[in-house]
């Protein structure tokens, strides 16, 4: 009952005129980001952070969160119409979605995706509403060793599941971790790696890194490959035939469960959720040979799963303060910029903020359903905006965005440097997402490690003496062992490259 009361209070906050407008801007930007191949939710969220500086924290996070789940909806459009995934989670949708479009059923593929995304996204938010407060109460008992173990687990899962080479994944993660150590040390306060440059005393700016690695580098990649827009297929009837409703709804419910469960685990992401859902649909289908040739379940299941995952990814963020994906890592950075510390205390200390954001997720999903069903044809046209118009605008937003974080040109320069680094990392298959998460977690992980060491007088066994920490460490060890095994046996090919960019 308490939860319902809080949620109603949240709706009162989220449904004020300004918050509704910010939610609309966020999900619209998310849709836009989603349909732009090569320009994903990480860069989209990072670019919009400066827009939020004059807003209240609740309005800011409502808008930024909208980009993430909006992008999951938008990514489907280009997957279905031009066989190019707008963001990584929609890769699977290309398999059957584009085939459906070629059969003159693009509208149905988009319609089914929109319905599935809405149900999956809403189911995840319902889960967030009821599970997060309970999980936060449990997490209140966590001390520094438990937090260190859970952050280590999240980071290990991300690296373990990323890229074709384990070495490249770990290099990227250590690079991110070291970048986090620039500037003042979170415990002693002494300044590290400033090299006598005053601007480096506060470390490297998250927005500059994210915009450089995920925004500028993508523009360089597109410029080097002379990408051109492809002509999209026509969008007609949006709803499936009567006989297709049964299998479609079955796929949607299964996708919701798969996506939700995957999203709750720190370190996983919506690509894994959609891949798992596709595999499940293929396994449960009476005639698996239809898959890859325009099976409606092959679109409904994965699209539902990636949205459910995006919604559920808020659970580790809100309850433990742990980002489960690069976009959520940016969101975590935005929390901190607005003076909020995500974690179990958030529900106690800032209930208006938490419940306002949760309520906005319900509202955002309804807005997105409207945008994707009656307005699907309009978005199909937006997907045709030429890169020559789009990229200068993105560059301008990046320039302004990186400057306005600290009002200094130094950060713009840093963004350009990371843009060049990101270009080469992408070309060399070094997963950039593995840089971002350790960078964001670097300071909290160091703080909790130092505090644990102080508690135990320098004894590392503290992580194995406490039951929760021990369990998490065992799980981490299992993932490390599995990653090394898959690397040695060359079985990492099945895993995706760079995720959610």
């Amino acid at each position: 009952m308490d939860t319902i009361n809080h949620l109603l209070q949240g709706f009162a906050i989220a449904s004020t005129g300004w918050n509704l407008l910010y939610c609309l801007i966020g999900v619209t930007m998310g849709m836009f980001v989603g349909i732009m191949p090569g320009f994903g939710p990480v860069a989209g969220t990072a670019i919009l952070i400066p827009l939020t500086f004059s807003m209240s924290p609740v309005s800011a996070i409502i808008m930024l969160a909208g980009i993430y789940y909006g992008a999951m909806y938008g990514g489907t459009i280009t997957s279905v119409l031009i066989n190019v995934p707008g963001e990584a989670a929609s890769i699977v949708t290309c398999l059957d979605g584009y085939q459906m479009a070629k059969q003159g059923r693009a509208g149905t593929a988009l319609g089914v995706s929109a319905i599935g995304s809405f149900i999956g996204g809403t189911a995840a938010v319902v889960g967030l509403t009821f599970i997060a407060p309970w999980l936060a109460r449990i997490a209140l008992r966590f001390g520094p060793p438990e937090f260190f173990s859970v952050m280590l687990l999240g980071m290990t899962m991300l690296i373990g599941m990323m890229g074709k080479s384990l070495i490249k994944g770990v290099i990227a993660a250590l690079f991110g971790l070291l970048l986090a150590m620039f500037g003042d040390d979170p415990v002693s306060g002494s300044v590290r790696f400033s090299f006598g440059i005053m601007e480096m005393n506060s470390g490297v700016e998250l927005v500059a890194i994210a915009m450089g690695l995920f925004g500028i580098s993508e523009i360089f990649i597109c410029a080097s490959e002379h990408l051109k827009r492809q002509k999209s297929l026509e969008v007609k009837k949006l709803l499936p035939d009567k006989a297709e409703w049964g299998p479609t709804m079955g796929a949607i419910w299964r996708g919701s469960v798969v996506g939700f469960l995957v999203g709750m685990i720190p370190g996983t992401n919506s690509v894994i959720a959609s891949l798992m859902s596709y595999a499940l649909e293929k396994k449960t289908a009476k005639d698996p040979s239809r898959f890859g040739k325009g099976a409606i379940e092959g679109v409904a299941g994965p699209e539902t799963a990636n949205n459910a995952c995006a919604g559920a990814a808020n659970i580790p963020l809100f309850t433990l303060g742990i980002p489960s994906s690069p976009t959520i890592a940016i969101l975590l950075g935005a929390f901190m910029m607005h003076g909020l510390a995500p974690g179990p205390k958030l529900f106690q200390d800032n209930p208006d903020f938490v419940w306002g954001v949760i309520a906005s997720l319900y509202i955002g999903n309804i807005i997105l359903l409207i945008m994707n069903l009656p307005m699907a044809r309009l978005w199909a046209k937006v997907a045709q905006v030429p890169f020559e118009i789009l990229f200068p605008l993105i560059i301008l937003f990046c320039l302004i965005g990186s400057y306005s974080v600290n009002n200094r040109l130094w950060d713009v320069g840093m963004m350009l440097v990371f843009g060049v680094i990101g270009y080469f990392m992408k070309k060399l298959d070094i997963p950039m997402a593995a840089v971002l998460l350790p960078f964001v977690l670097g300071r909290p992980i160091e703080s909790s490690f130092v505090q644990s060491m102080l508690m135990s007088n320098g004894d590392l066994m503290i992580f194995l003496r406490r039951p929760i920490s021990l369990g998490l460490m065992c799980f981490t060890a299992l993932i490390v062992a599995g990653s090394i095994y898959s690397s040695l046996k060359h079985k990492r090919e099945a895993l995706t490259g760079d995720l959610e960019v």
Binding site: I167, I171, S190, I389, L399, I400, K427, F449
Partner: protein
């Protein structure tokens, strides 16, 4: 031939980065002066050491098993021209914005980026309009303190 291996260059970059940080990390306390705990030098030292080891492994791997042709990493002739131009435009923006203000710098850089795609008579109002719109969004509406000239734009 070895120098045309993209993996080698990337490995060297990470190795150099790690070695520089490893060297500098010795300037910081390894253990906490409070006793029992670790100091600000502990994690940087171990992390950079691990990165250096992995960078060496990566170099060896790219030399022995997985070479990456540098020509596939570097952009082609047309691509490199576009990338250098884009970088140049961004550097121009950074260089002049403090002196000429947001409006002039943004109009100029937008004009340069749209050059070749839009004819000058269309490009000029579009660039000015884009700068005006961004000025209104960021400076007027959101009150983001972007650099402006003496006239306030």
């Amino acid at each position: 031939m070895m120098l045309k291996n993209g993996g080698l260059w990337a490995g060297c970059f990470f190795l150099l980065f790690a070695l520089v940080l490893l060297g500098v990390s010795f300037e910081y306390d390894y253990l906490s002066q409070l006793g029992g705990g670790i100091g600000p030098g502990f994690l940087p030292r171990w992390t950079s050491l691990f990165l250096a080891v992995l960078a060496i492994l990566y170099i060896v791997d790219s030399l022995k098993r997985n070479p990456v042709d540098l020509s596939k990493v570097l952009p082609g002739k047309g691509g490199i021209k576009t990338i250098v131009l884009l970088l140049l435009y961004m550097i121009i923006f950074v260089g002049i914005v403090k002196y000429v203000g947001f409006m002039v710098a943004t109009t100029l850089v937008t004009f340069l980026m749209f050059r070749g795609y839009l004819k000058w008579y269309l490009n000029s109002p579009v660039s000015l309009g884009t700068a005006l719109l961004l000025y209104w969004i960021f400076i007027v509406w959101l009150q983001v303190p972007l650099p402006v000239n003496a006239l306030g734009w």
